[in-house]
């Protein structure tokens, strides 16, 4: 079973997370600069229920992997992306039906190896 790990983290954590993933043999990933908010709606200091939603810059990492590697990856990302403050981010695990490597037409697990 293939899974996609999609995580939203603080931009200043990206380097560390990227290097650690390389060490546990993650071959490929996609990184996007994104904007978003969580339960605090972009506000960290005060509770302001009527204020407009504020979107803060974040980084999104996407990695497709085999199911057996998911736990190791999410614990690596979790321990490094942790900031002890709100807004450290989230990790989503999503089922992937199939993968195709365009150059070789390989499909499935061999397409990510």
């Amino acid at each position: 079973m293939l899974k996609k790990i999609e995580c939203i983290i603080q931009p200043f954590k990206l380097e560390e997370v990227k290097e650690a993933l390389k060490k546990i043999a993650v071959e490929g990933m996609t990184v996007t600069e994104v904007k978003g908010c969580g339960r605090q709606r972009g506000y960290t200091e005060e509770y302001a229920p009527d204020a407009p939603i504020r979107l803060l810059p974040k980084v999104k990492l996407e990695i497709v992997t085999e199911e057996e590697k998911v736990e190791e990856m999410i614990s690596t990302i979790q321990s490094l992306a942790k900031t002890n403050k709100i807004g450290a981010g989230k990790i989503f695990v999503i089922p992937v039906e199939d993968v195709l490597r365009i150059r070789t037409k390989e499909r499935g697990r061999i397409a990510i190896d």
């Binding site: 079973m1 199911e67 998911v70 736990e71």
Partner: protein
């Protein structure tokens, strides 16, 4: 050693619980009366040829309390204290446990009165096969599905499955759960009860707006359940400050490493003697300064004597019936948040249910899939009970029983009374 106290008759205890809930939910008298009586009870004599050539006769039981929602489900235990009343109570609690998590199962329990540590593996196999043969007409994948309990394991389940299959003339993996994986057991079954307790505790902390980190946890029992709970909590940053077993416990206010304790136990046969800790008795264990107490041993460990001295403000019942009825009243008046056994330790029957589903389909899931589904079911059951507890302003035990009895009652009402 814990002094042997006179235990409450478990069946009287179970009936009393039912009576109280029946009153609270305004249960129709005919359904109440029906639920007070087990559906079927079988007492069997089990002659076993011992290794020295002599023959011993043991007494075994299988009680099906209720099968309104589906086939009966419940463990088989080998223990000298096994009695008919204990089986009845445990069977009734299985009915409630299956109903509270929402499985299409009724409740059962079985056991053989024996001292398994005094039996050789061969004697244990002959005992298991003869017991299975005596209760054969009562069990089956659509009728009643046994599982491991105290002093029974996946090997015992394999023998039961084999005995049943030989009688039928074909393999019937769905007749028991808790089998070895190669015979159709489920991945994740061994750790299921402990993992379920762990999820329940996380849900409890979330509800109480507390974090797991640095929480001081005391665990009574370090077997199939306690050791798994300890490992998972330690991984999440909780501090396991004390662990005990029948012969006493170990205490270190700075926290114990469950993996190291486990390694020590493998060599020494008990947690006692672990080097980074001091010795404590089981009685002292209950008086320790801590945040969370997890009884994961046997019945009636929290009594009216030690209940007033418990310092924890959260108790998660990993064992079956660890709190005596009088102790329960004390905990309630002290406003300690108690997550009852039928909810907290339902992880075992949950993965048993998964195993049965997988066996019926002949299609198997990955361990990750099992654990995720387990978390989902435990979390939904927790909130179902919590909602009732908050709405009706009752403790979690009463709320769990209300959810369970209502569900069985609704099914009974819909099916009606035959003829």
């Amino acid at each position: 050693m814990i002094e042997k106290k006179k235990k409450t008759n478990p069946w009287q205890h179970a009936l009393q619980q039912l009576d109280e809930v029946a009153k609270r939910i305004d249960l129709e008298p005919w359904i109440h009366k029906k639920l007070r009586h087990p559906k079927r009870e079988l007492i069997v004599s089990i002659p076993v040829r011992m290794d020295d050539g002599s023959v011993e006769v043991f007494t075994g039981y299988r009680v099906q309390h209720n099968i309104t929602l589906g086939p009966a489900k419940g463990g088989i235990r080998y223990h000298p204290d096994v009695t008919l009343d204990e089986m009845r109570a445990l069977a009734m609690w299985m009915t409630w446990k299956c109903a509270v998590v929402g499985f299409p199962y009724g409740g059962a329990k079985g056991g053989v009165a024996c001292e398994p540590t005094k039996l050789s593996p061969q004697e244990l196999e002959r005992l298991t096969r003869r017991y299975t043969s005596e209760i054969l007409g009562m069990i089956g994948p659509e009728k009643d599905i046994p599982a491991p309990d105290i002093n029974t394991n996946s090997q015992v389940m394999a023998w039961i499955m084999d005995t049943y299959s030989v009688d039928r003339g074909y393999s019937v993996p769905g007749v028991v759960t808790g089998k070895p994986v190669v015979l159709g057991g489920s991945l994740g079954r061994e750790e299921a009860t402990g993992r379920g307790v762990f999820f329940t505790l996380l849900n409890t902390l979330k509800h109480l707006d507390q974090s797991i980190e640095e929480k001081k946890v005391v665990i009574q029992g370090f077997g199939k359940v306690g050791s798994v709970v300890a490992k998972l909590l330690h991984q999440e940053g909780a501090k396991i400050i004390a662990i005990s077993e029948v012969d006493g416990g170990i205490y270190n206010p700075k926290g114990l490493d469950p993996e190291k304790v486990k390694a020590h136990r493998r060599e020494a046969g008990s947690v006692v003697g672990f080097k980074d800790a001091e010795f404590i008795t089981n009685e002292e264990l209950f008086k320790l300064e801590c945040d969370i107490l997890i009884p994961a041993a046997t019945e009636e460990q929290i009594t009216e004597e030690n209940a007033p001295q418990i310092k924890a403000n959260i108790i998660v019942e990993a064992a079956n019936g660890p709190t005596s009825p009088s102790a329960d009243r004390i905990l309630k008046s002290r406003k300690i948040f108690v997550v009852p056994d039928i909810l907290a330790n339902a992880g075992g029957v949950t993965v048993s249910y998964f195993e049965w589903v997988q066996a019926m389909q002949g299609y198997f899931w990955s361990e990750r899939e099992v654990n995720l589904k387990l978390r989902d079911i435990m979390t939904r059951a927790f909130h179902r009970v919590l909602d009732v507890s908050l709405r009706e302003k009752v403790d979690m035990r009463t709320a769990a029983l209300m959810v369970a009895v209502k569900r069985v009652a609704e099914a009974t009402r819909l099916r009606g009374l035959y003829p």
